[in-house]
Structure formats: C-alpha cells, structure tokens
Subunit: 664 residues, 2 copies
Amino acid sequence: MVDKAPTVVSNAIRFLSADAVQNAKSGHPGMPMGMAEMGVALWKNHLKHNPKNPKWDNRDRFVLSNGHGSMLIYSLLHFSGYDVSMEDIKDFRQLHSKTPGHPEYGVTPGIETTTGPLGQGIANAVGMAIAEKVLAADYNRPGYDIVDHYTYVFMGDGCMMEGVSHEACSLAGTLALNKLIVLYDDNGISIDGDVKGWFTDDTPMRFEAYGWNVIRSIDGHDIEAVEAAVAEAKKQNDKPTLICCKTTIGKGAPTVGGTAACHGNLLGDAEIAKARELMGWSYPAFDIPQQVYDEMSAVEAGAAAEAAWSERFAAYEKAFPKEAACYKRRMSGELPADFAEKMTAFIAETAKAQQEMPVRMASHKAITMIAKELPELIGASADLAASCLSYWEDSKPVTAKDGGNFIYAGIREFGMGAIMNGIALHGGLIPFGGGYVTFSDYQRNAIRMGALMKQRVIYALSHDSIAVGEDGPTHQPIEQLGSLRMIPNLDVWRPCDATEAAVAWECAIAHEETPTLMSLSRQICPAFKRSDTQVEAIKRGGYVISEAKGELKAVIIATGGEMDIALKGQALLEAEGIGARVVSMPSTFLFDKQDKAYKADILPAGIPRVSVEAAHTDYWRKYVGLEGACVGLDSFGESAPPAVLYDYFNITDKAVAKAVKSVL
Amino acid sequence: MVDKAPTVVSNAIRFLSADAVQNAKSGHPGMPMGMAEMGVALWKNHLKHNPKNPKWDNRDRFVLSNGHGSMLIYSLLHFSGYDVSMEDIKDFRQLHSKTPGHPEYGVTPGIETTTGPLGQGIANAVGMAIAEKVLAADYNRPGYDIVDHYTYVFMGDGCMMEGVSHEACSLAGTLALNKLIVLYDDNGISIDGDVKGWFTDDTPMRFEAYGWNVIRSIDGHDIEAVEAAVAEAKKQNDKPTLICCKTTIGKGAPTVGGTAACHGNLLGDAEIAKARELMGWSYPAFDIPQQVYDEMSAVEAGAAAEAAWSERFAAYEKAFPKEAACYKRRMSGELPADFAEKMTAFIAETAKAQQEMPVRMASHKAITMIAKELPELIGASADLAASCLSYWEDSKPVTAKDGGNFIYAGIREFGMGAIMNGIALHGGLIPFGGGYVTFSDYQRNAIRMGALMKQRVIYALSHDSIAVGEDGPTHQPIEQLGSLRMIPNLDVWRPCDATEAAVAWECAIAHEETPTLMSLSRQICPAFKRSDTQVEAIKRGGYVISEAKGELKAVIIATGGEMDIALKGQALLEAEGIGARVVSMPSTFLFDKQDKAYKADILPAGIPRVSVEAAHTDYWRKYVGLEGACVGLDSFGESAPPAVLYDYFNITDKAVAKAVKSVL
C-alpha cells in the first residue's frame, strides 16, 4: 500500500477544516483531515449531484455517518458550488449558521441527514437505498431508468461498534442493496485512543458474513485507489459494497496526527503552522486557491447530469404519463387531491360502524384504507407483523430480488427506526413501522432523530400497557408513554377506539413535519359513541367524550385502553350525584397546540382533575396539577392475566370514582 | 447430521412446557420444545450448580437469552431439584408465581437474570464472564482457583438480530472471554415466519470475525453431540465459543412444529395429544415419570461440587486469609465496615474545600476516593473515558490477557449497560459506566432492566444540557432528564457542584437495590456554600440551599448547572424586596421518598414555585403544579457556544426573576 501524496485539493479540505475548527475553538479536526482524499475521490469522479439544485430527485445521496467530521462535508459543499460560503465556514458551530457542529438536515443545502449519534447515519443510508430500490421497482420501465442513483456513506470505527450498524447492515445484505456503497474510514483511533483495546473485529469478514461485497486494504489517502474502488463497487448487481480505506486521522498534523489527540481537540495554531510547512501548504487560513474551486466545482457537471435526467424523464412522461404524474406527486411529498376527503369519509364510517376491536386492529384497518390511496405508504415491522397487524392485504415484501411496500425488518427496532428516517428523507415514501411500545426504548434515539429532522415517520406500536398481561414487566410499558411525549416534535397518540385510531392515522399522514408514534392496545376496546362534533374534535388532541350530568364537579382525563374504566367511574360518580366530565386526550401534543380558549373550555380552571392511564403518573401532573389525582402506576408491571393486573394495580372504575372524590 | 431420537428426559421437558403453556393459556411452547435436548445436554453433564443453594458463589451461570422460552428453564429447574414445584409450574404466568412469563431475577431460584428484551441476556452473560475473569485475576493464586466457573447462554435468532448482541459479542472476542459458552438455538423461525426473508447472516462467520471459537452444524436434538460440543468449548483458552445448534422449533408438534405457528401461539389440546402419540409420550399433563427426576437431579452432584469448592476455599483461606476475607465480603455485597465513615469524611472535605469545577470532574474525584476503598468498583466507558473522566489514577484496563478494574467498552452504550447489569448480577463487583446523557437513549432499556432487577449499577454520564454547546442538538439532552426520572426504581441525580456529586456517589454505593444515573455537567460549576445541616440534607434529594431573605414569597427549585442562575435570580428578586427560597433538588427520587412533613417543610403548600433546569419542563409540573412556572426548554437545542444558548433559550437569572414574579 503506497501512501500517495495529498493533492492541492485534498490539502485545501484538510486545512480549511483545521482552520475552521480552530476558528470556532470547537470541533473535530482529525477526521476531515484523515478523510480528505476519500472526500475528493468520491466527490470529483463519482457523486452525481447538482449544487445549484441540491434536492434534485435523482441525485446520489451522501451520508457522513461519522458526523463529527462535519467540516469535511462543509468543505466539499463549499468547494463544489453549494450555497455554503466562506463566511458560512467561518461561522462554523455558531448559532443559526449553515455550518453547525454536526451536519443537520434542513440547515445546510446538500446535507441529506443529520448525523452525530453514531451508527444511525449508515442506517439512514440503508433506508435511502431501500427507498431507491422500491421506487425504481415502482416506476422504472424498460429503457426508462428514471430512478437510478447510488447512496454513498462515509463511516468510522464508532459506527462500526454501534449495534445499530449491525442491524442495518445485516438487513442491507439480505435485501441485496447493490447501490449502497460505504467507505469505511479505518483510522484505528477513537476518543479513548487506539481502538485495538476495545475493537478487534475483522470488519471485512463481518460484512462478508452479511453478504456484502468487501473491497479490502485501500489506501484512503490515495485518491486514485479510492476512485477505482468506488468504480469497482458500482459494478455490483446484488450486493452492497464496503470499501475499507486505511487512513491516518489528522493526517498532516506532525505531532498529533495518527493519534486520539486530534480527535476532538483543537490542533492549536502552532501545530497547524507546522502542518502547513510539512504539507507544503502556503495559503493562509480561509484563503483557498482558485484551482481548488475549478477542480472541485460540480456546478456544470451537476447541471448536465440533471438536464440529462430531465430529458429522460420527459420521454418517460410521454410514454407513461400516469406513472410520471404519480412519481412527481410522491417526490413532492404532496398527497392526492382527494385523499383528505376519503380519509374523512373513512373516519365517518368508522365512527358510524361502532365496532369494538383491539386498537392495533383499528390501526390495521386504517393502514389498509390508506395503502389503497397512497402508493407511497411503506410498512415495516420488527418481527411483529402479525402481532402488531402491520401488514395489510395488498402488502408486498421488499426482497433481495424486488421492490415492494413492506419491509420485514427482523428483530431490529433501532435499525428499523433509523431506516425509516432514511426512507422518509429520501422522499417518495411515507414509512411506518410496527413493534411493541416497551421496545420503543430500543429505538428511542431514532425516534428522536426523526423528530429533530421533522420527518413524516410513523410508529404504530402495540401492546401498550399492563394489559399485555402474562408477558410481564419486561413487556409492559410504564414510563414509556410519558417519556415519549416529552420528545420535542413527536406526536404521541394513544387512541381509545377505532375512531380515534383512524384520526390518529389522518393526522400522522397530514402532518408532514412531525413524526407520529401511536400507542395501540393489544386488547379489545369498546367503540365509544360520539356526535359528529366530537369526531371532528378528536384531531384537537383532547375533547369532551362524555359530559357531566348535572353540575360539573370534576374532569376525568383518560386515554386508550382505560377509557372504558374512566367512563364506568363517571357512571359510579353519577349514581352518587357527582357530575364528572370525561375528556379523551389521545394526543397531548395536539391538545397543547390548541388556543387558550379551547383548552380552558375542555379543562375549565378551578375544576379538579383526575387522570386515568395505566402508565406512569408523573407526566399527568402537567394536566391535573398538584391538587389533582392520578390513576395509574409508578412501579413496574407483573406477569399475570390482564384483568388480574388492573385489579392488582388498582386501575378500576371504583378507583377512578374514589380518586375523583378525593380531589373534590 | 443425524436427528437423534429425543429421550424420556427431553420429552419430559417438551411436554411439561407444552402443557404448562396450554394450562396458562398464554406463552411460547415452541422454543422449550425445540431446545429440550440442548437443555438436557447442558444441564446433565456440564452445568455446575447446586439446586439447594442456588446462589453459591462459584456456580456456573446460565442465561436464557431467548427468555420467551421460559418454560425450558422452569422445567430444568423443577427436574433438577430447585425449589420450583409442580404447583409452581401449574401457576405459570400467574400473579406472583415463581414462574412468570419471562424468567425474572429475584423471583425464581436459579434464574440469574431477567430476560425477554432480546439481545440483553447474551450481553448480561458477557458481563458475568467479565466478572468471573476479573475476580479470578483478583483472587486466584497458583493452586487455588477459587473463582472458576463458566457462563452458559442459550440464544436465538432474535438475539442474533438485535444490535446489542453485536456490541457485547464483539467486546467478548476482544477480551478473550474463553469461559463464555453460547449455544445458538438456530431454528430458523421468528414470529414473522422463516427468517430467510430478513435474516441471512452467516452467523458462524460473523462470530469468527469477532474472534470467537465457532463450532458449526451441531444437531441440537442430539444430546450427545451437544454435550461433546460443550466439552470441546471448555478446552478453549482464549476465545469465547459459539455452538451452532440446528433445531426444529416446537419439535414434536406434528402440524405446527418447525413453523412460526408454534412460536407464540398455544398448540391446543388436539395438537398436543397428537404430539404425545407421535413422540410415544403416554404420561398425562403434569405427570412426570420418576426416571426424569432421577436422571436430572443435580442435588447430589451440586452439593458435592459446592463441598469440593468449600474445601478448596478453606485451604485458600488459610493460605491467603486477607484475600479470602476480602473475597467473601465482596461476594456478600457488603461494604467495608469503615467505608461509610470515610465517605462522610470525603463529603465533609469536599464541602469545605469549596472548589469550583465541572461536575464530571467532581464525580471523577469521588470515583478516585471510592476506588481506593472499594476494590469491587469497576469502571467502564463508552469510548468517553477522557471526556467523562471515568478512569482514575489506579485504574487498570481489563484486557484479553488479564483482569483489571476498567473496561474500555468502545462505542457501545447499550452493550455497556447490559454488561454492567451482568457484572452486578454476578456479584463481587460494583460497576459504573461513563457516557453522554443524550446517549442514555441508546442504552435506555438496559438502564430499565437494571432498575427492574434492583441492581447496584451506576451511570456517571456527562454533557448533560445545552451547555454542551457547539456539538448541537444531537448531543444536547432535553427530554432525557425528565424521562429517565420516570423509570421506576432508578435514582437520577443532577448534582450542582462537587459536594452534591460526592453525596450522589455516596448514595449510589449505599443503595444496594437501586441503580443510579448521574447527570453531570461538562462545564465548570461554582462551589456553593452550605452549613453542615445542609450538607447532611443533600441525601434527602431536595433541600433549601439558600433561604429567602424576608417574607417567603416563592420557591425556586433548581438542579445541576442552572443552580448558579437560580441563585442569581434569587438575588435579583431580593433587590426588589421579593423573598424567594432556592431549593436544590439533585434527586427527585430520594426527595419523593421523604415523609410528608419534610416535603411540606421544603416546599410549603400555598407558596408558588418555579423550576429551573435546562431541560424539558413537563416533568417539573409534578413539583410546581399548574400555577407554577418553569424555566427550561421544550424544543431541541442548537449548535452554538454555551453562553449564547442560555441567552437564546432564555435560561437566565433575569428569566428566573421574571418567572417568579409571574406566579406571585
């Protein structure tokens, strides 16, 4: 392996990165310096993208999974012609700059996903490659490859160690994602030092075990070698490719290069000065020779690539006008014009039908209806398709050989979540995934990332309380509901019946910038009667489902599987002449967004409140205050039949009535 | 591969499991039936355990990582002589029975860890094997192998797919845990059906890539073959072993055997009857021939094994009395007699020293002190040893070749958490682990499992707010604090300075049945002045750190890095003649456990309250109610210098003063 000399262009990346980090007095100089040649190799000869139209549909996707090396991609974006100026670079890691500490989707043109939490970038990329495969199967026709792009990833040791990389890469092998090309920045260094003390995997062998094509022992500082390896990878027909690039972290830094000292620490002016000398780089900080811009500009090539595609698409549009229109609509993220109306009709029918059923089944019915209208709906399940009723009649599994609209994700909750984020980010698809509420714990940071990136990702999770019963405390969510509700920009729904489940799905599809997590009952729930006005009010997140008879003395706030108990408690109180209103609060997220008047109308000031939910009660203090009461449980569950547990944990109609009386 | 005929003993497991599941009308019959021969093979000839003294120190550990097959282990415990009666078996999955839905630690004798959440059992087992290795290095002397046992695991496809298995098994290879022997129940079926659609890993190759010894292609229904493979595995000196056992799920069930239909569904009386016929099993349900008890009883052999060890230990005790005493103390879980006193002195010194420092540094100082007194303290870090200051001067990394007291866990938060649980469960060690608060998301279910199992596991996590600054929203915890506080039996601390950090450590060590999670500041925090009474009050979780001057008009409740802001806010109010008390609330968990009088004393009824914490405010409604106010943030953070962010998010002394005035 000959260590090729860095070029003017790669040194420009190297020093712009080092100087920007130094300027910000914060950041990670080592990775961008170590990956500079890899960046040039991919960016110059392979990446198909248009800096002047960064969101062009058929661009290649690039994911910097080791997001702490953010200056690498900012440099590349800057040099190649994106709207990332030198001023932006100087503003590295400052408030509301285009160059935040880690690459953030929606902040910087050309950033395809937010990375930083390790392992999730590669999983996002697997999602993007699945999306490409699925859309290609949906829309390409012989002679018309209108969906045809690669997904490239840079990832480091950290991503390799994280379990989510196992989950996502294993599935990528099974699904034969040949257009996924990963460049592994094998620098052998993590924050604690030489990784040999904690990371001795034979990574190429590991990926071969996943069914990947592995290209070993590439000198990551040899631009030509990296370019050739990527060219080789592109020949693959049925395997994703891992290109193992041996690099030196902080390459060029004479003292700290190759060590953990340049991982998250500033190099300091002296070290950078010495590096300049050593690497023969005479330009001052933030002074980049024109040659770099000339060599790296992707503006012309990008415009040409897009133009060629547009021409191809125009021909396709002539030959397949219906498909082309559908594709364009989907990629734009817009719903069919008549969808809202059909959804409203479905909700009305559901409300009218008054069928009792498990809420997971109600969700299934909504999925079935939506899938008929929205070819962009793509399901997934963490090995619980049957249990969570995630598949539907016309669902077709995505396989190694073909696209489809359902991903058997295996027992990989976290991977599934991060893959769904990637699918949503790609565009053209609305992903939803099934699993159990308790195991949202496993995928929690992926849920958070979807919320942070404002992606329309839907979790339809079942088995949402002690009503799980015999499976016991490991499978019974307690703190999950309240704690999920605290994730900013996540709409958590706990529908109490089929009608609320239908509205939950309506909102989940309608709200483009908010992921939704539905907490669905495993057990049968009654169908509750509602007026049209009440049905209409569901989407406000909280509404009066049953008004107090006589003078209003208390408000009972309930959700999901405990609605029945709340209403029976109300009846007990009524028999004693105590008027209590029952408020259904399936989405605290949407209720909180209502205006003051509405909220005061539902929860009148001065009237005591009692919450009813078979979950941790702390969250409900937000609504019932210190003076109110909570019916719920703050301990772990137990293994026993559901009815036994409701009695044991004192979540009953009598307990509701007693709690109300205690706060009067 | 010849499929050997099941034996009377393995059929006894098979049918006892099927019948118990049928009787409970809930459970998973397939796995125990499929693993029956594996169970016999391990249990009869290899497992060193004493049913009459299930907690004997030097027993082999057995972990059923695929915990949904719980009837397998209940059968084995019952047959081999543990205090698990036939009545207990009939009580399968009933409230407070010894046979809950999934194996639960602390409920059933012989259950070493609670399993069910897939992938964590194998990771617990890696922790147990690390514990054995570390203790052996600490205490064994030439000729005196007093710590010398194996850790056996059964795991299925589900565990294999979960990312945490990657994290734990990769580390197990690096650390050369040769006494870890894993039997992989390769039945090719998961809930969604034949795993080929979503799981095509070459698992043996994957484990070889981790540096494991892999024994391939064992017929899991051939007791002799499995026995021989385990015997072979025991010869390993420097590698953990994976034994790949090909099995048929639900073996013996004529219609559904070998399919997902027997995974989580009852077989039904007819299918069980047919199975009995097919397998030549004429005994009625719950009627087990004496032969089975005779063959499977481990009572005599177990007593002999323990007696032999006791004899060995007695000799060791004579030769190495100090070591033996220390070992016994550690395994009993007791602290040295003088520890409490030394800890008190350390806290007093810290309080007196009045040194400002990052709270992570304060935690580091406490670790350094404790490690001197407690050889059982073992640290770990998810590649952030330097950043979280998790190592200490005398820490010694655990390596492939030797024991130690610090685990470089790599970038494997979830694996680290589950490994720590396993270490604590093993006994003789008190594990703590470092990482970032935000990435507690990754390890959340392991934290939960530690709380459920009542294990003394300590998370000392740093970078606990927007004060992380430039790293941005992906690295800034918002909802984590409140949501971690909702995990039952988890003591979450957010100390505001070195003195509170010292008390947090005191409590973490003292509370044997409660895991502790510390949320530590990256940034420097002042040292706050306290009287001795105040210092003493810290362990109550909440106390008055600064009394109001003049009439008490409001209570400000603050934690951690925002204490300074709260106190400055108090001063601003004072200048306006408004008396506000500042309550430091480092542990809501402990504060909630105080008696009513104490709580009313600290937070007097009728006095309005304002919380101050740079985190999600929803949680604080529990203390400030509807009428109070919260200074905090309910959105994601931003990438910018910390001071800029505090201003931007309006978490300032002025904001505190304003909030107080708004609630007067």
